[in-house]
């Protein structure tokens, strides 16, 4: 396969054994190339400034910083790349943190090559994975009246609200239904369902960003934030 047609994956993972293992599994997938595979934020920041990956695979806890920062910078530099967080557990807390920073998918560190390949191609085709716990979390975040302490600020763009269909997808996903089952139940295609998820992740990122702006303005830090954004 010519290099230009291959999917370029940048990998950031501090544990060398895991990194190599992941790298091997990634390369094992047809059409994936891993030109950058590093263990620190600094190295990865340099890399994303120098080049543009199709997919950034990123751990969160790193020796010289938090992967969330790397995700943010990479998304600012290359708004249309895919970002996946790699996690041991795929637990709600970590994945949500990454989603808020702009990640659109996640991988488990022990996922076999076939899974990794499927996940990446799903992302590139415009879809995202979801777990029931994350779905449940998203329902809570976007239905603020039930969680007073998470009430979104009034200036939040109404565009970040969920559509009825999106909410239906989340509700079914939270009950453990697979994309295929949800697609059958709603009479749409599986790919459409996963694209809903991706849109919802995008809204979550916008939502958390405006929430941050609101918090900052409330604390009198708004100017700094504006300069940042």
């Amino acid at each position: 396969m010519p290099y230009e047609l291959m999917t370029i994956v940048y990998l950031l993972e501090d544990d060398a054994v895991t990194r190599h293992n992941l790298e091997e599994r990634l390369v094992a997938v047809e059409g994936i190339k891993v030109p950058v595979s590093v263990g620190t934020c600094t190295e990865m920041l340099t890399a994303v400034r120098a080049g543009r990956p199709d997919v950034l695979l990123c751990d969160l806890q790193l020796p010289d910083g938090n992967g969330v920062e790397v995700i943010r910078v990479a998304r600012d530099l290359h708004p249309d790349i895919e970002v996946m967080v790699i996690s041991v557990f795929g637990d709600e807390q970590r994945v949500v943190t990454a989603l808020k920073a702009g990640a659109t998918g996640y991988l488990l560190k022990d996922d076999p090559s076939s899974e990794i390949g499927a996940a990446i191609s799903q992302l590139l085709q415009g879809g995202s994975p979801i777990s029931p716990a994350i779905a449940r979390y998203l329902i809570r975040v976007f239905r603020p009246t039930e969680m007073p302490e998470q009430t979104p600020p009034p200036q939040v763009d109404s565009a970040v609200g969920l559509t009825t269909r999106e909410l239906e997808v989340l509700q079914l996903a939270a009950k453990g239904f697979s994309y295929g089952e949800i697609a059958r139940m709603l009479g749409i295609s599986g790919a459409t369902v996963s694209s809903y998820t991706k849109k919802i992740y995008g809204k979550l990122a916008v939502h958390s960003r405006s929430e941050a702006v609101y918090e900052a303005s409330r604390l009198g830090l708004i100017d700094e934030v504006r300069r940042d954004t």
Binding site: F89, G90, D110, S131, A133, R136, K175, G176
Partner: protein, 655 residues
């Protein structure tokens, strides 16, 4: 606030601070009443120049004539003024008085006739010409204390002898004529103005003030039923006000004149009795029997006096009242003065001293009035001082009590503020205590949660890692080791999932488990049938319970994967009932495999499932489907585990 001073209540406790009155006080107590009498004497002194125009005697004729023309053949007798006769055997008495006024020449200035206390209906004639008509008055009075000044037109007077005739019409019981003055209008008018102020205006003013005070004390008593002294004091003022009313009220509105007089006199007795009862309450004493006796005696006397006034003519009780009734009242009230004096000696609080002074002034004035009447039993011109003294003292004392009341209110406000401050302080302390307790509870809950996680790790991943280490020593066990380590990772993920199940959402927890095993089922070619439906929430279904349930379900999944040889697995949730009928949630895991082998001994996995179900108070049923597959049903009671659970856990749910 208590009007009754503290000394009487210190018997039961408190700091007994006793203080006897100083000699200066006793001097004051002796001098003040006398000073009062002297002051009254000065105020009531005859106006200068008046005495020269007074008549000590008059010619008197008890003839029921209407005009002087009918008096030609009447026999006159000389009587001393003031003059008084009982009216007996008739409803109206008419008497004539004649004064001879010798003038050297006709006076240039205006003259007048002046009566200080007319008390009957008077018509006056000068040299046969009438000055005032009896018809101008509505009724013969005996109680009009307002002085009357009648000017004489100059043209009526002449040099030499002038005849002044006064016709007095009166109802029973008595007919009177007060001291009469005939002289220059200017002199008599000055006396008239002074007496009007003293006899009418001053009494009216004090009457209004006293009625106001009586109302105020009545209100205080309504608000503070405990302090009966306010009621007693208010009633005393009210009774005295009625007495003053009788003294200045010109109009009778009930009964006969004799009965009216009895009522007026009774008000004085009632005032004395009320005063005695007020003193009792002031000193904190309640001699109920004595008080009842007093009230009963007064009522009996009132009835007897009314009966006498109704059935006997004249004023039969007049002398009896003066010589027996009034002394009895003086003795009784003297006893109250004595009680007050002893209380003041025992402990000279400012209230007791003031009360004693007031009582002394009133009592001495009463004695003075009595002596003056006894010295001159006729209806003399002397003024009784009691109305002025009592009114003055009552108003003084009423003001004092009002001041004390205001002060007590201020003290109460200060006290309230202190109390509020203390309550706030206590509240802050309590809040601090609660905060400590909350921290303690949270720490306990956290400690409990920590120990649960330790237990779970020991239960799952710990054992699996030990087994993995054991396997690792065997070189050919790579595949088994891989499986075991994956199992350990799965278990760890399940623990983390259970910790995140903050809302204890059963379906989400099941969904997470499904997601974790989806790959393995897909690899084994087993299709998932996910037939979950919404179920009611289960009481007390926290992370610990979620993990127990997940382990049961995972064990069931593992059995399907390992042994069943199934093509599909179906997971179903539904509402159900326990064997005893309690509402429950059922979770079914069903496969279409070979079912349980009858010969195969129940493995460690099944025993674990039963143990965990028991820990959840759930029912576990493992059976066979009609198609031959295996069906595992867990039924969780909606009421939760009613058996006593780790109390720390329940707290964590609250924190």
């Amino acid at each position: 606030m208590r009007l009754r001073d503290s000394a009487s209540s210190t018997k039961s406790g408190g700091i007994p601070k006793r203080k006897a009155p100083s000699p200066a006080f006793w001097l004051l107590a002796a001098v003040l009443p006398l000073a009062f009498l002297v002051g009254m004497r000065y105020v009531d002194a005859p106006p200068p120049g008046l005495a020269a125009w007074g008549y000590a005697t008059a010619d008197f004729a008890p003839v029921a004539a209407d005009s002087p023309d009918e008096l030609a053949s009447v026999a006159w007798s000389t009587v001393a003024l003031p003059h008084r006769v009982d009216v007996v055997g008739k409803s109206i008495d008419v008497s004539w008085y004649r004064f001879a006024v010798d003038l050297p020449e006709r006076p240039a200035d205006l003259w007048a006739i002046y009566e200080r206390r007319p008390r009957t209906n008077l018509a006056m004639f000068v040299n046969g010409v009438q000055l005032t008509s009896p018809a101008q008055a509505r009724r013969p009075y005996t109680h009009d204390w307002a002085p009357r000044l009648v000017p004489i037109p100059n043209s009526l007077l002449r040099a030499g002898r002038n005849d002044v005739l006064i016709r007095s019409a009166s109802e029973p019981p008595a007919s009177r004529l007060d001291q009469t003055y005939i002289g220059p209008y200017e002199v008599l008018a000055a006396a008239h103005d002074r007496h009007l102020l003293l006899d009418v205006t001053a009494k009216q003013a004090t009457l209004a003030a006293m009625l106001l005070f009586a109302a105020l004390f009545g209100i205080i008593y309504v608000l503070r039923r405990r302090d009966t002294v306010f009621a007693a004091y208010g009633i005393t003022i009210l009774v005295w006000s009625l007495h003053v009313c009788f003294l200045i009220g010109p109009e009778r509105w009930i009964g006969t004149e004799a009965q009216w007089l009895v009522l007026g006199e009774f008000m004085l007795a009632a005032f004395v009795i009320c005063s005695i009862m007020t003193v009792h309450r002031f000193l904190g004493r309640r001699p109920r029997r004595a008080e009842r006796l007093l009230v009963a005696g007064a009522m009996a006397y009132l009835l007897a006096a009314l009966a006498a006034a109704t059935f006997l003519e004249g004023e039969p009780l007049r002398v009896f009242n003066l010589l027996v009734g009034v002394p009895i009242l003086l003795v009784l009230s003297g006893r109250s003065v004595w009680q007050l004096a002893r209380a003041a000696i025992a402990n000279a609080t400012i209230e007791r001293r003031l009360m004693l002074l007031c009582a002394l002034i009133v009592w001495v004035t009463g004695v003075r009035d009595f002596l003056v009447h006894v010295a001159d039993p006729g209806d003399g011109p002397h003024t009784t001082y009691l109305p002025y003294t009592v009114s003055f003292v009552l108003l003084l004392f009423g003001s004092l009590i009002m001041f004390r009341f205001a002060r007590a209110l201020r003290e109460t406000e200060v006290l309230n503020r202190e109390l509020e401050a203390r309550v706030e302080q206590k509240a802050a302390e309590l809040e601090a205590n609660y905060a400590r307790i909350r921290v303690f509870e949270r720490n306990q809950a956290l400690a409990g949660e920590r120990s649960r996680i330790m237990r779970d790790m020991h239960d799952g991943i710990g054992g699996q890692l030990v087994a993995a280490i054991a396997l690792a020593t065997r070189p050919s066990a790579a595949r088994e080791l891989d499986g075991l380590l994956h199992e350990a990772l799965d278990d760890l993920r399940m623990m983390i999932d259970s910790l995140e199940a903050t809302e204890a959402d059963l379906l989400t927890a099941l969904g997470m488990l499904r997601m974790r095993v989806t790959n393995r089922f897909a690899a084994a070619g087993i299709e998932f049938h996910w037939e979950v439906t919404d179920v009611p929430p289960i009481a007390g279904f926290g992370p610990e319970q979620v993990l127990q349930l997940m382990r049961i379900v995972q064990e069931a999944f593992a059995n399907v994967l390992k042994h069943a040889g199934a093509r599909t697995i179906t997971v179903r949730t539904a509402t159900a009932q326990l064997t005893l009928g309690e509402p429950a949630v059922a979770i079914e895991i069903e496969d279409d495999g070979r079912g349980m082998q009858p010969g195969r001994p129940a493995g460690r996995g099944l025993a674990n499932m039963r143990r965990r179900a028991a820990a959840l108070a759930a029912e576990l049923e493992i059976g066979t489907t009609p198609g031959g597959g295996t069906r595992v049903v867990v039924r969780l009671p909606l009421a939760g585990d009613s058996s006593p659970r780790d109390p720390v856990h329940a707290k964590l749910a609250r924190v």
